[in-house]
C-alpha cells in the first residue's frame, strides 16, 4: 500500500496540525481516516454544537433526550414514543433513489435501536423547479426510493411536505422522520453499563459502498464532483426488516447492554461514541467484520456506510443467544471487538495494530467552532403593504388564488402520498391529505399526531421570526385535531457555516426555535444539523424542518381535515392580530421585491387555542377542522371541502381593511372549523369562555364558491368560481406534470 497524501480525507490543514499535536506524532492512514470521519461536521457538530445548547430537552414526559439514537417522550402510563428526524440531502442529490431509501432506513434504525417498534414515517422534500428535467428525475426517484424502503419494511409513511424552489436545484433536501413505540421498561440506550462487554456486529455484510459518506456530507459540492457515486450507500429493505425484527427480539429478551446503529461513519462512530459515553475504550478487530469484499483495507472497513448494520455491546454470556437469533433471522453477526478499560480506540487486524487513538481525542477534543456571523443585508420591508393597493391593484383576488393553486407548491400532494403505503399496521387514523397525520396508540384510547413544518420563505425574510413561525405552525396544526404538543425534533438544513451570513441565519433560526419551543413548553428531544448545502458557492435559504408530536387523549374525538357535507357552518377561530404577508406563499409567488414584515406570533392567544380545541372536539360537535396553512384562508377552505368533488362554500365577510391579508395571510394560530349550524352557539360560547376570537364566516354549499365582502371603501365585492374547476386546478398542478401515461 502506498502512502496516501493527507488531502485524501480532506481534513483541513489547521485540524491536521491539531491532530499532530494531540497525538504527538503523525497519524497513520487508518487513524487519519478515523479522524476525518469523527471530526467531520456531520459527526462532531463542530460548528453548531455551542448553539444547540439553547434547546431545552427538559420536560416531565421526557424519558430520553439528545445523545441517544432518538428522543423518547411518555404518552401513556407505560408507553413512550421514540422519534427523530434526519437529513439525507447530499446522497439523494447524487443517487436519488438509493439516497432517499437509505435515509428512511437510517432513521428507522435510530428508532428500533432504542427498542421501539417503528409505526410511522413522514418526510419533508425540497427540490428545484420541476421545469428542469433533472429536478423532475430527482423528485421522481426520491419519492420512489422512500416508497421502496418504507413500503417494503412495512412502516407506513403517514405524512409529509414538499416544496419546489429554484434555489434548491443543486442542493435538494430529503429529510425523513420516524416514530416508534416503546415500553417504558424496555427502552434501550446507547450508553453501555460499566462492565466488560463484547462488541457484536449484526446485519448486512460490509462492503465499499458509502465509504466516507459522512465526510462527503460535510462539505460543499463543486462542478467536478462526478466521482462521488461510490460514496452513496445502497439500501436493502428486506435485510433491514430482518435486522429490525432481530434487534427488537434481542432487546425484548434483555440481551444487550447498549445498541447503536452504524449510520454515518459506520463502525467507527458507533463504536467510539458508545465507548466514549461511559468513558471507556474499545478495541475492534477488522478481521472479524463480516465482509462482502475481502480485499477491503482496514480504513475502508472502518468508514464503510453499508446499510442495515447495528453494533451491540453485550455481556459474554449473552453472545451465544444473540448469534442464534441472527442465524434464525438469516442475518450476519459476529463478535468484532470488546470494551477495554483504558479509554483508547484501538483497531487491529489480527495481531497487527492499525490505529490507536485516545477516545477523548475523537470526541471531547474534536474541534468546536464559534464561527463568525454577519447579518445579511436586511430585505427592505415596507409597512405599506398593509395599506397599498400595490399587488391587489395589479391582480384580482381570484387571479391570485388561481396562481397559488396552479403552481405545484399549491397543488394536491396525492401524486406523492399514494406511492407510500400509509396504512400498513392499520394504526393510521388520519392519512395524508388531512391537516396532520394521526396514529393510533391502541392503548388507553390515545393517539399521536405528527405535524411537519419546514417552509423556508419566512426565514429568508427574517430568520428569527420565521423560525418562531414554524413552531407556531406546528402547534396550530396539532391544535386543529385537539392534540397537545409533547415533543419536537428538528433537522436544520443550512448552507456553508464558514460563511458568516449563513452562520448568522443559523444562530438566529436556532434562537427563534428554542425561544418559541420554550415559551410553549415543548421539549426538543432530538435533532440533526445538515450544513454545506451549497454548490459552487451558492447556499440554500435557511431551512430548518420541524416535526412536532402531539398527544390526543381520546382518539375517538379526532376530527378530519376535510368534509363532504353541505350546509355546515364555517367559523374562523384564533388570533388575527398580525396578518402580515411577509414570507407567505403569496409573497413567494409574487417575488415581491419589497415584502411586508414576517408576522409576529400572538403567543397568548395561541396558548389558549389548544385547550379550547380540545374541549370543543371532545364534545364531538365539529365535523372538520383545518389550520390556516399554506396559501391562507382560501386555499385552506378549498382543502376543507375537498372530500367531495362538487362541494364548495359561501362566505359572507364584513368590511375588510386588507382583503389580501384576509384571504392569503398564513399567520399561524388560526383554525377553520366546520360544524352543524345547530352547534353555532356552543362553538361561540366555548370560544368566549377560553378567550379565543371566533367569527362565523359562512357555510359549505354544493356546487357553489361564492365569497362576498366589502373593501376598505365599503364597496361590495364578490368572488365567484366553480368548486369543481378549482379542485381540478388543485389536483392537476403537481400530478399533471408527473403523469406521462394516460
Amino acid at each position: 500500500m502506498t502512502a496516501v497524501p493527507p488531502s485524501r480525507f480532506r481534513i483541513p490543514a489547521p485540524e491536521m496540525e491539531r491532530i499532530r499535536i494531540l497525538l504527538g506524532r503523525d497519524p497513520n492512514l487508518t487513524e487519519e481516516a478515523v479522524f476525518s470521519a469523527l471530526w467531520s461536521e456531520h459527526c462532531s457538530y463542530k460548528s453548531s454544537r455551542i448553539h444547540l445548547r439553547k434547546f431545552s430537552s427538559k420536560g416531565p414526559r421526557v424519558l430520553m433526550g439528545p445523545g441517544e439514537n432518538a428522543g423518547v417522550v411518555r404518552v401513556t402510563s407505560r408507553t413512550g414514543i421514540a422519534f427523530k428526524m434526519e437529513s439525507h440531502n447530499h446522497p439523494s442529490y447524487i443517487e436519488p433513489f438509493q439516497g432517499a431509501a437509505t435515509g428512511v432506513g437510517g432513521i428507522l434504525r435510530d428508532i428500533f435501536a432504542m427498542g421501539a417498534r417503528p409505526v410511522a414515517l413522514t418526510n419533508s422534500l425540497v427540490f428545484g423547479s420541476l421545469r428542469q428535467p433533472r429536478q423532475m428525475t430527482l423528485f421522481r426517484r426520491v419519492v420512489a426510493g422512500i416508497a421502496a424502503y418504507g413500503n417494503a419494511i412495512g412502516v407506513p409513511t403517514v405524512g409529509g411536505e414538499v416544496w419546489f424552489d429554484e434555489r434548491y436545484a443543486k442542493n435538494i433536501l430529503v429529510n425523513a422522520f420516524a416514530l416508534g413505540l416503546v415500553d417504558e421498561d424496555g427502552i434501550m440506550s446507547a450508553v453501555p453499563p460499566p462492565k466488560p462487554l463484547l462488541a457484536v456486529y449484526l446485519g448486512n455484510k460490509t462492503g465499499r459502498d458509502g465509504v466516507s459518506g459522512a465526510a462527503m456530507a460535510s462539505r460543499s459540492f463543486s462542478g467536478g464532483d462526478t466521482d462521488l457515486r461510490p460514496q452513496v450507500q445502497v439500501a436493502d429493505p428486506f435485510v433491514g426488516k430482518k435486522v429490525m425484527e432481530a434487534t427488537l427480539l434481542i432487546i425484548r429478551e434483555g440481551l444487550a447492554g447498549a445498541i447503536q446503529d452504524m449510520g454515518a461513519a459506520g463502525l467507527t462512530s458507533s463504536s467510539v461514541e458508545m465507548a466514549s459515553k461511559s468513558s471507556l475504550g474499545i478495541e475492534i478487530d477488522v478481521d472479524r467484520v463480516p465482509l462482502r469484499d475481502s480485499s477491503m483495507e482496514p480504513w475502508e472497513i472502518l468508514l464503510s456506510e453499508s446499510q442495515e448494520r447495528m453494533l451491540l455491546l453485550v455481556e459474554e454470556s449473552r453472545v451465544e443467544r444473540i448469534l442464534d437469533i441472527a442465524r434464525d433471522s438469516q442475518v450476519s453477526a459476529a463478535v468484532v471487538g470488546r470494551i477495554i478499560p483504558e479509554p483508547v480506540f484501538r483497531v487491529r487486524k489480527g495481531e497487527a495494530v492499525f490505529a490507536e487513538i485516545p477516545v477523548p481525542f475523537l470526541t471531547e477534543e474534536a474541534p468546536l467552532y464559534d464561527r463568525p456571523t454577519r447579518e445579511r443585508a436586511p430585505s427592505p420591508s415596507r409597512p405599506s403593504l398593509l395599506h397599498t393597493p400595490s399587488e391587489a391593484g395589479r391582480h384580482s383576488i381570484a387571479e391570485l388564488f388561481h396562481r397559488l393553486l396552479d403552481h405545484p407548491n399549491g397543488g394536491a400532494a396525492d401524486w406523492i402520498s399514494r406511492q407510500f403505503d400509509f396504512e400498513v399496521g392499520t394504526r393510521t387514523l388520519l392519512p395524508p391529505g388531512h391537516d396532520v397525520a394521526v396514529v393510533d396508540l391502541r392503548e388507553e384510547e390515545r393517539a399521536v399526531a405528527i405535524s411537519m413544518a419546514g417552509f423556508s420563505h419566512p426565514l429568508t425574510r427574517d430568520p428569527a421570526r420565521g423560525a418562531m413561525l414554524l413552531v407556531a405552525k406546528c402547534v396550530t396544526d396539532l391544535a386543529a385535531v385537539g392534540a397537545w404538543p409533547v415533543g419536537m425534533t428538528d433537522c436544520l438544513n443550512f448552507g456553508n457555516p464558514e460563511r458568516p451570513e449563513t452562520m448568522s441565519d443559523f444562530v438566529q433560526a436556532v434562537g427563534g426555535i428554542a425561544d418559541a419551543a420554550r415559551r410553549l413548553g415543548i421539549p426538543v428531544v432530538s435533532g440533526n444539523v445538515s450544513f454545506y448545502n451549497e454548490t459552487d458557492g451558492l447556499s440554500i435559504p435557511p431551512t430548518p424542518i420541524l416535526a412536532t408530536c402531539g398527544l390526543l387523549s381520546d382518539r375517538r374525538s379526532v376530527v378530519p381535515g376535510k368534509t363532504a357535507l353541505a350546509g355546515l357552518s364555517l367559523a374562523l377561530v384564533g388570533s388575527s392580530k398580525d396578518l402580515s404577508l411577509g414570507g407567505s406563499y403569496l409573497d413567494w409567488i409574487l417575488e415581491d421585491p419589497e415584502p411586508g414584515p414576517v408576522p409576529l406570533v400572538d403567543w397568548e392567544t395561541l396558548g389558549r387555542l389548544q385547550p379550547f380545541m380540545s374541549v370543543l372536539l371532545s364534545g364531538g360537535r365539529v365535523r372538520a377542522s383545518r389550520a390556516i396553512g399554506r396559501g391562507g384562508l382560501l386555499r385552506t377552505l378549498l382543502q376543507l371541502v375537498s372530500a367531495d368533488q362538487t362541494l364548495g362554500a359561501a362566505l359572507s365577510l364584513s368590511r375588510l381593511e386588507n382583503p389580501l391579508q384576509t384571504f392569503f395571510s398564513e399567520a399561524p394560530g388560526r383554525i377553520l372549523l366546520a360544524f352543524e349550524p345547530d352547534h353555532a352557539r356552543i362553538v361561540e360560547q366555548t370560544a368566549l369562555e377560553f378567550g379565543v376570537p371566533c367569527r362565523t364566516i359562512g357555510s359549505t354549499a354544493p356546487l357553489l364558491w361564492n365569497i362576498r365582502y366589502q373593501d376598505r371603501e365599503g364597496r361590495a365585492k364578490e368572488l365567484s368560481d366553480s368548486p369543481e374547476q378549482l379542485k381540478r386546478r388543485y389536483a392537476a398542478s403537481l400530478a399533471g406534470q408527473m403523469e406521462d401515461l394516460p
Partner: protein
C-alpha cells in the same frame, strides 16, 4: 363453547401485513389465528389458511417467485387441493398466482408506481368461503397498496375463468391496468381466493365502512356451516 377454528397465517421473511391480518381474524369470535412459518410442512389441524401481504423475500427477482418455492407452499398446495379455504391478500395473491394455485399473474402497475388508495369494487362471486355474506353485485370499498397489481391472463384462459365465474371482484375504475378490471379471482373449485385489495385494513375504522370484516365473518360462517354438515366437498 365449541373450540374455535384455527386459521393459519403464513409468514415468509419480508411479510409485513401479518400482524394486521392476525388482528382482523382475532376480531371474529369463531376464529383463532395461528402463525405458520415459511418452513412449516404440517397443516392438518388447520381449518383455513391466509397468506398476508408484504414483500416476501424483498420481492426481489420477481414478486412472489421466491416465496412460491418455499417449503410451506407444498402444504398450501395440498391444502388447497383438498378443497379447504385459502385466502391470498396482495403479496399472498401474487404468491398463489406464481405457484400456479390461482390462474393468471400480476404485473407491474400500468403507471409503474406504487399505489396506495381506496378503491370502489364490485363483488361478483359470492359462493366462496370468504364472500358468502355478500350478494353478487355488492359494492365494497377497500384500499389497495401495491406496485405489481396489474392482473394479466392470456385471452383463452380469461374467457374460461369468466365463464366459470372465477372472477371474485372488479375495480369500478381500473387503477393499474388489470385485464377486465379484475381485482381478485378464485380457483376452479372456488375454495382458493386471491385479491389485491386489503380487507384486513377495513375491519374497524373511525371513518368509513368496515367492509373488510365481512370477508373474515364469511369464513367463520362457512366453517360453522361445514361443521354442522360434517365435512363435505365444496360444490
Amino acid at each position: 363453547m365449541p373450540s374455535r377454528h384455527r386459521v393459519g397465517i403464513v409468514r415468509f421473511p419480508g411479510t409485513n401485513c401479518d400482524l394486521d391480518t392476525w388482528d382482523a381474524i382475532s376480531l371474529i369470535p369463531e376464529l383463532e389465528p395461528v402463525w405458520i412459518s415459511h418452513k412449516d410442512r404440517q397443516g392438518e389441524d388447520l381449518a383455513a389458511l391466509v397468506l398476508p401481504g408484504g414483500f416476501s423475500y424483498g420481492d426481489y427477482l420477481r414478486t412472489g417467485i421466491i416465496a412460491a418455492r418455499a417449503p410451506v407452499m407444498e402444504m398450501v398446495g395440498s391444502f388447497a387441493d383438498r378443497g379447504r379455504p385459502v385466502l391470498g391478500i396482495c403479496n399472498g395473491f401474487q404468491i398463489l398466482a406464481e405457484a400456479g394455485i390461482l390462474p393468471g399473474t400480476l404485473l407491474p402497475n400500468g403507471g409503474r408506481t406504487f399505489l396506495c388508495q381506496e378503491e370502489s369494487l364490485v363483488l361478483e362471486n359470492c359462493r366462496t368461503p370468504f364472500t358468502n355474506l355478500f350478494l353478487p353485485g355488492t359494492p365494497v370499498t377497500l384500499p389497495i397498496a401495491h406496485q405489481e397489481g396489474r392482473y394479466f391472463i392470456d385471452p383463452d384462459q380469461l374467457q374460461e375463468i369468466e365463464k366459470r365465474g372465477q372472477i371474485l371482484l372488479r375495480y369500478l375504475k381500473n387503477p393499474n391496468g388489470s385485464e377486465r378490471e379484475i381485482a381478485g379471482v378464485t380457483n376452479r373449485s372456488g375454495n382458493v381466493v386471491g385479491l389485491m385489495p386489503h380487507p384486513e385494513r377495513r375491519v374497524r375504522t373511525l371513518f368509513g365502512r368496515p367492509d373488510g370484516l365481512l370477508f373474515f365473518r364469511s369464513l367463520a360462517l362457512h366453517l360453522e356451516r361445514q361443521n354442522s354438515r360434517a365435512v363435505q366437498p365444496i360444490p
